[in-house]
């Protein structure tokens, strides 16, 4: 910053440069630009509460727990989402399904959405696609504790955001159903 010591090298100014300075040419160019925008008024504003964007299908919004089309929960209580979560949002308490010792489920399932950063890693980690990201984003609340969601609330979000449900795993394809399946409700295999 030795501006005062070394004088700036003198630049040759042509006549047109002088004229441009005298007539505020650069300013007028800028003012023409703003006036053009005023005359061709095309606002890019979206009047948010009144009109809303159409969100893409892969929008990463509020997390939800999903169900199969017969109403049973998809979650098998494997804890992989809890392990994948970088912000430690999820807490799963896994348990055996009463009366079906081969089958497990999440007895309790908590999400602290105040910490969630909507990375989607839990959804990727889930082996049974029990987690989904909805397109809900209007979750501003007055009390932070309202963002501490339990299993029932997460299931309710899934129910209202994903009305079309998958078939149970064992009915989708015979090779898919290799774990966490009790075969009581199926007819015995013929061999």
């Amino acid at each position: 910053m030795n501006v005062a010591i070394s004088p700036a090298p003198k630049q040759k100014q042509s006549l047109s440069d002088w004229l441009k300075t005298l007539t505020f040419y650069e300013l007028l160019v800028g003012m023409k630009a703003t006036l053009t925008h005023l005359l061709n008024y095309k606002p890019i504003t979206l009047q948010y509460p009144h009109e809303k964007r159409i969100l893409p299908d892969n929008y990463r919004g509020m997390l939800a727990l999903l169900r199969y089309d017969d109403g049973t929960e998809k979650c098998v209580g494997c804890d992989l989402c809890e392990a994948a979560c970088p912000s430690r949002v999820i807490r799963v308490v896994s348990a055996e399904v009463p009366g079906e010792p081969t089958k497990r489920y999440s007895k309790e399932y908590y999400m602290d959405m105040t910490r969630c950063l909507f990375c989607g890693l839990c959804v990727d980690a889930c082996p049974v696609d029990a987690l989904g990201m909805t397109r809900e984003f209007e979750w501003a609340v007055y009390d932070k504790r309202q963002l501490h969601l339990n299993k029932q609330q997460l299931l309710a979000i899934g129910d209202r955001s994903f009305p079309v449900r998958e078939k149970p795993l064992e009915l989708q394809h015979p090779n898919v159903a290799f774990f966490n399946v009790a075969f009581k409700h199926l007819p015995p295999k013929e061999n």
Binding site: L27, G30, M31, A33, H37, P43, T45
Partner: protein, 355 residues
Amino acid sequence: MEIGLRLAVSLAQIAAVMGVVMLTVMVLTLAERKVLGWMQDRMGPMEVGPYGVLQPIADGLKLFFKEDIIPAGANKFLFTLAPILALVPAMIGFAVIPFGPSMTIELFGLQIKPFVISDINIGILYILAFASIGAYGIILGGWASNSKYSLLGGLRSAAQVISYELNVGLAIVGVILLSGSLSLVKITEAQAGGFWNWYVLAMPFPQIFAFVVYVISSVAETNRVPFDLPEAESELVAGFFTEYSGMRFAFFFIAEYANMILVSCVAAALFLGGWNAPYPGTILEYIGLERIAWMENVVWFAVKVYFFLFLFFWLRATLPRLRYDQLMRFGWKVMLPIALGNIVLTSIAAYFFPR
């Protein structure tokens, strides 16, 4: 008895002018946000009323009911005084502005001029004097707040307003030389009869340079973009009124817009012929409606004033803020020599080609 009547008439005139000015300020607060929004591909305020037209009322109500905070360590007296010192000079200047033709009507046996509150013979000097007092409001407000941002804003404003007021004063001298009067009514009357008689174009020496200097300096004097250093949002929070809230803040706000209207009125009256139409006479007079010809004149005055106000918004939407040393160099090394040279040339021209 007569004094009482005269007082009543004057008070009525003052109330009418104040009402129009306050109404214009309300319109301007909305118009500025709308025009800025349109120029930047936005919409501006849209929520209150259809297309946001009731926004000024909502703003006014909010400011009126807002808590009035005096910061700890502030000088209470000066802190209270500063907004009033800023607002009153901005309002008081309108007393000498002629809004329409200088006719006299007789009312209750009194000769009154309906379109100017008081035609004093030093009108322009009066406006300049009160504009200088307005700077005190800003400086004292900045100092009394006990805040570094306010103080810096006030200091900048002191330097800026004083150096640019000089240019305003010198730019006006050319017009005064040509018209031979300080009264705004006489100056406006001297420009009658078509746009070629307006002082911005009038022979013997067009005041076009003085006009440009005046417009630029008046933008600087009202602390508007690109010369809004005293309230530079990105550097000084809000400059000299950082600590103000509620009605006191509103006073500063109204003062700024009233100052904009005032300098626009002066520019229209001095350089663009005031209430004179750009053609000789008025159309309403030609078609035989002499009694309402004043309407056309008033409309022309409003058109000119609103053109300048639009220019203020337009500049704000376009130009970035100057650096402080650029501002000072521009004021003293560019504007001042142009204004002085204009005075010299105008006086030579006025001496050899007297009108």
